[in-house]
Amino acid sequence: MSGPSGLSGLAGQMTGVELAWWAQTSLRSIGVIVAVLIPAGTLVYVFLFKMMSFMQSRLGPMEAGPWGSLQLLAEVGKFIQKEDIIPWRADKKLFALAPYVVIATVFLIYLVVPFGPDAYFVDFDTGIFWVLAVSSISVIGILIAGWASANKYSLLGGLRAAGQLIAYELPMVLAVVGVVIQAGTLNMKGIVEAQHEGTMWLPFVGDWGGLGNPFIITQCIGFLIFLIAMQAELTQTPFDMPVAESELVSGYMTEYSGLRFLLFFIGEFASAGAFAAVAATLFLGGWSLPGLDMNADYMNVVGPIVVLAKMMIVAFLVFWVRFTYPRFREDQLQQLAWKILIPLSLVNILATMALKVAF
């Protein structure tokens, strides 16, 4: 890339100043932190605190702030005060490192998600490839946590997490391949553009470009596979074998307390937000809305709101499933991935290829 572009370029345009490199970098860093923490906090409050409570016919946290809206800040304050315990036999350096590895992957995913024509952090040509690649790093963090804790529950949890995340990485990648074939690009902005400018074939109307072509319609099987794989990658409930609290205490998080536990907790929900944002970009049309010019300047303000709204829709599905289903058994979980999802996504790819060539 030559010259500032993306978010820092946008800030430069607005202030009319060519920002120095350090200023651009710090602006990007703050932007990523905001982009990670705001959706994570929103998800925890709206879904974990409120929607889950309503689904169980109760009110959830009500004391801190109106309708318990400041509960999360109270929790953060509580976790920061807590004693930072490291087990005696633990590998102290790795033990301390693990939560940061997990949370770093979330930041790296957000890096390539576009929130508007100029509101992005980095515009990689192979954006979606980057997402899939860095999202696997969290497995290493979880394995480190499980191994370094010197606790058999942690180790089992870490191993289960590794087995599960590797198994579900495949259907996720294969589901994305369908989208990539249809969009003809790996670039996240390119995928959004392909959806906005595409046309939908409707009965009686024929080719109709009014709604664009969000890939959820043509890639509905891909979307379904992506959602299931995402649920497993996030270790949300039907796939929460790694933290299975009734079997493994809390899996790889057993020995963590205080700030490090908070980091794991933020990582869990921030990555839920990140994957929801990626799903919104790949299948729901990203920051574009039908009827609005996706490259207009005002989309830099409207776009993030649109992405957040679409993200909430995807996250609603994820958490709805989470609060409804009980946990899989380990072998059922592997069977679902290897025997159903992967063949299905391969068929999906073949069908997409055939249709792409035919039309």
Binding site: F54, Q56, S57, R58, L59, W320, T324
Partner: protein, 184 residues
């Protein structure tokens, strides 16, 4: 064994429906035109405890109350207590005669009657076993303490709980037995 009938809806879909329906019922409890106004505090079945309280049922086992005048220091309760949480001490005393001109009577006086609620498991055997109507269940439940030792209630504290003891419910019609009276 016959084959179970196939459900009309797959269980997975039905489960999602149950949670969604509960959520909608909690969020929008009103009927008619007010349906669109979310009012979860009305829809939820739970009660926001410190702000609003449910009245416990009449026979709740909240705390054990002691009617000190009726106690004869017979120790039956202390002996029947499975985890030995009742402490009783007493001494022999003389009371004035019932009728003028009579002999002074010998009575047992209660010096100490403590129940350690940190140990008590609310089995109610002491209440059952008391032949002199000195122990009763009271529905009071708000007596948690910051210090464990404060859960040891002495006889004055146990006597205060008597105020909340409700009257016994009448037996079902046709019963020959007389309803017991709570000594006030």
């Amino acid at each position: 064994m016959g084959k179970a009938p196939t459900p009309k809806l797959p269980g997975l879909v039905k489960g999602l429906g149950v949670t969604l329906k509960t959520m909608m019922r909690t969020t929008f409890p009103a009927r008619g035109i007010k349906t669109l106004i979310p009012a979860p505090s009305k829809g939820a079945v739970t009660v926001q405890y410190p702000h609003e309280k449910e009245t416990p049922p009449n026979r709740s086992r909240g705390v054990i109350a002691l009617k000190e005048d009726n106690c004869t220091v017979c120790m039956l309760c202390a002996r029947s207590c499975p985890d030995w949480c009742i402490y009783i001490e007493g001494h022999k005393d003389t009371a004035p005669p019932r009728r003028p001109g009579g002999k002074p009577r010998t009575v047992s006086k209660l010096d100490r009657f403590d129940i350690d609620y940190a140990l008590c498991m609310y089995c109610g055997i002491c209440v059952e076993v008391c032949p002199f109507d000195a122990l009763f269940w009271s529905p009071e439940y708000e007596y948690s303490e910051l210090r464990l030792a404060d859960l040891l209630h002495d006889k004055d504290r146990l006597g205060e709980w008597m105020q909340a003891v409700p009257d016994f419910e009448p037996y079902e019609s046709g019963s020959e037995q007389k309803v017991r009276k709570v000594p006030r």
